[in-house]
């Protein structure tokens, strides 16, 4: 079931194509992306973090990306129809599962899971969404951001079990990209190595 982002109507996401391009351009810089999603690094100067603390911080970064994907599907769903809507609902549910899995993992590591941003914050960051084509384009961008987050995270995670969990989620988010590309009439598997770029 699609639930609206708090305080946000679909039309409120609508701004300009220039905004869309600005956001899409920002997606190319992973550091900027993570910061935009609320997942930036903490300050330095404190003792070196433990492996568990490092893992929790890495997982929190991708958790913020998942929160953004959830907000995006929620915002975009009212503009979708037919098979695209059915799939967006399915993907939204799966992103919620990912967020739940990551939140539990962060807690198990002794950390505090990042919370989603407010609807207003997402509204400021999201591009103009006027129709299904806008939503699919933005969904591909966001899913690629999520994939890139996982690709960058995986080699840095010290827990073998968490690496396996992340790999399983990464595969699914790459599948989302593929299906969304297909919905756009594009090559669904354009590259032999999936990096989210």
């Amino acid at each position: 079931m699609i639930r609206p982002v708090a305080g946000l109507a679909p039309a409120q996401y609508v701004r300009s194509r220039r905004d869309f391009l600005r956001v899409a351009g920002a997606l190319a810089a992973p550091g900027a992306l993570l910061a935009a999603c609320g997942g930036g690094d903490e300050g330095t100067g404190s003792p070196a973090p433990s492996p568990a603390e490092t893992d929790a911080r890495i997982l929190n970064r991708v958790l913020s990306l998942e929160h953004a994907a959830i907000a995006a599907y929620t915002a975009g769903a009212p503009l979708l129809r037919g098979r695209a809507l059915t799939r967006a609902r399915r993907f939204l549910d799966q992103e919620r599962e990912h967020a739940g899995t990551l939140s539990r993992a962060v807690r198990d590591l002794g950390g505090t899971p990042n919370e989603p941003k407010s609807g207003e914050e997402y509204r400021r960051e999201f591009p103009l969404l006027r129709d299904q084509a806008d939503v699919l384009r933005f969904a591909v961008d966001l899913e690629n951001r999520v994939v890139r987050g996982y690709v960058e995270a995986l080699p840095k995670i010290s827990s073998p079990g968490l690496r396996q969990t992340v790999a399983g989620i990464l595969a699914v988010d790459a599948e989302h990209v593929s299906v969304l590309l297909g919905e756009q009439g594009r090559q669904p598997v354009p590259l032999a190595f999936v990096t989210g770029t």
């Binding site: 996982y150 690709v151 969990t165 990464l170 595969a171 790459a174 669904p188 598997v189």
Partner: protein
């Protein structure tokens, strides 16, 4: 929707089941990164051969898709082989006939649905294998390679599932042991 018991039975009847049960968790069962790497190269080389052998039995978009996937699996095999050689290892020999790829001969004689189910099984096994490798590798460079390949195998899996009329992304996580 994952492979159902009925579908598994159909695949088994077509001779493809050994692909699934031949070496389950093969990558996880091996003890060193070199062994895991060699097993991954073997997996990719079998996939290259399987897609190449199956493409002429298909037509239209299916055939184009299989050729495309064959090329991508070739890239995976090359990258993994390079990683293996850089560590002093030697890639396993490539299969030279369908008989060297478990279940392939029977799948090829079964027509489009059987071939596509075989491809689903092939990709599910690949994703599960890389999921295991993500657990077992320690070298960040190998983990980075696994991360880039598992996404590609997941995409192959989604596309082939869809070609079979199945839900392309049936669950929130891939690679769980079945």
């Amino acid at each position: 929707m994952r492979t159902t018991r009925r579908e598994l039975a159909a695949v088994a009847a077509a001779g493809a089941l050994p692909l699934l049960v031949d070496t389950p968790g093969a990558l996880a069962a091996t003890r060193s990164e070199m062994q895991v790497l060699r097993a991954a190269v073997d997996l990719e080389q079998r996939a290259v051969f399987a897609y190449g052998a199956a493409a002429p039995r298909l037509s239209g978009n299916d055939a184009r898709l299989f050729r495309h996937f064959q090329g991508q699996e070739e890239h995976h095999a090359a990258a993994l082989s390079n990683a293996l050689r850089n560590r002093g290892g030697h890639p396993p020999p490539r299969p030279r006939s369908a008989r060297e790829v478990p279940g392939l001969t029977r799948a090829l004689s079964g027509g489009r649905p059987v071939i596509l189910r075989y491809a689903v099984a092939l990709e599910e096994r690949a994703v599960a294998a890389y999921s295991d490798a993500a657990r077992n590798f320690r070298d960040p460079r190998l983990l980075a390679l696994v991360a880039r390949i598992i996404g590609s195998e997941g995409q192959h899996l989604a596309v082939v599932r869809e070609a079979l009329g199945r839900d392309p992304v049936p669950s929130a996580s891939e690679g769980s042991r079945r």
